[in-house]
């Protein structure tokens, strides 16, 4: 029996973007962080670009494939770090699903990026609280985590907005 897979150009592009997202996740894991969990989240730039170019379903696939493959390559699969990454990805994807109905004229990639970043850290902290550290003192770290999420969300959003704008110019649109 022979199974033939026909990859469309879109499939190739999605695969390339997913590979890029995984590479960014791996590169980021090597950056030392003063506080566990504070990372720039560069892979979310890819998720945003995929969301704009291919829609939410594809963005969800790319993000979840990145989480699974990234943690597999780091030897983190099914370790706490994997579940935290998954919780963050699921929370940010849910918010992206809701936020993408915002009028595009007024809300660009930067809005989606910031909302996704805040959802990401909220999902992670919720899991940390419910599962790892059920202690109210976690609230002391909330402002720090939210501030970092705002900053990284803003920067990632600007990069994604620039990427999408540049892509439109070369495509002649």
């Amino acid at each position: 029996m022979r199974i033939e897979l026909h990859a469309t150009p879109a499939d190739h592009q999605i695969a390339k973007l997913t590979a890029l997202a995984i590479a960014l996740s791996l590169a980021e894991a090597a950056i030392p962080s003063p506080l566990p969990g504070v990372k720039p989240g560069l892979a979310n730039i890819i998720v945003l670009v995929v969301l704009y170019r291919f829609g939410w379903t594809t963005a969800a696939w790319v993000n979840l494939m990145r989480v699974a493959t990234g943690s597999l390559l780091l030897g983190q699969l099914l370790a706490p770090g994997f579940f935290l990454a998954l919780a963050g990805a699921l929370a940010s994807l849910s918010v992206l699903g809701l936020a993408q109905v915002l009028p595009r004229r007024w809300f660009g990639p930067v809005s989606l990026s910031i909302l996704a970043a805040l959802a990401h850290i909220s999902g992670q902290l919720l899991l940390v609280y419910l599962w790892l550290i059920p202690n109210a003192s976690l609230a002391n770290l909330l402002p720090l985590f939210f501030g970092m999420a705002l900053l990284s969300g803003l920067i990632n959003g600007l990069i994604a907005a620039h990427w999408l704008a540049a892509g439109q110019e070369t495509a002649g649109g």
């Binding site: 915002l102 004229r105 930067v110 809005s111 909330l142 402002p143 705002l150 600007l158 907005a161 620039h162």
Partner: protein, 131 residues
């Protein structure tokens, strides 16, 4: 290349709603910082003698209380956002050596002289402590 760099800094990347989201997120962060980081700030000092409250002082200006206990006088010093037992006749000076109390819920007990000072914040963390 320079065109691409220019467009990165072009403000058109930020649409009106984006500014709204940035402002709202910043406001949320500031509000979180103000609520989370001031929860442990003490507001009042409660001074007790033999378990009965003898003074309840706001921690907004410096003042001193002298409490007459069974052994002698315990001097409690109140300052903005902190309090301490300045002097006490108890033999081992445990409450005096605790120094300044700065967090809500902190307390210093001078057991031999039956005096104590406890800092109270906005919310009481617990009703009592047992050792």
């Amino acid at each position: 290349m320079s065109q691409a760099t220019d467009s990165f800094f072009r403000l058109s990347l930020l649409r009106p709603g984006d500014w709204l989201v940035v402002t709202a997120a910043a406001a949320l962060t500031v509000w979180l910082a103000m609520t989370a980081w001031t929860a442990g700030t003490p507001e009042r000092a409660v001074i007790r003698l033999s378990g009965k409250i003898v003074a309840d002082a706001a921690l907004d200006h410096a003042q001193t209380f002298s409490i007459q206990g069974p052994l002698g006088i315990t001097r409690v010093e109140i300052a903005p956002a902190r309090a301490r037992i300045a002097s006490d006749p108890s033999p081992r000076q445990i409450c005096v050596r605790q120094g300044w109390l700065t967090h809500a819920g902190d307390s210093a007990l001078c057991l031999p002289n039956q005096t104590s000072v406890e800092l109270i914040g906005k919310h009481r963390l617990y009703d009592s402590l047992n050792y």
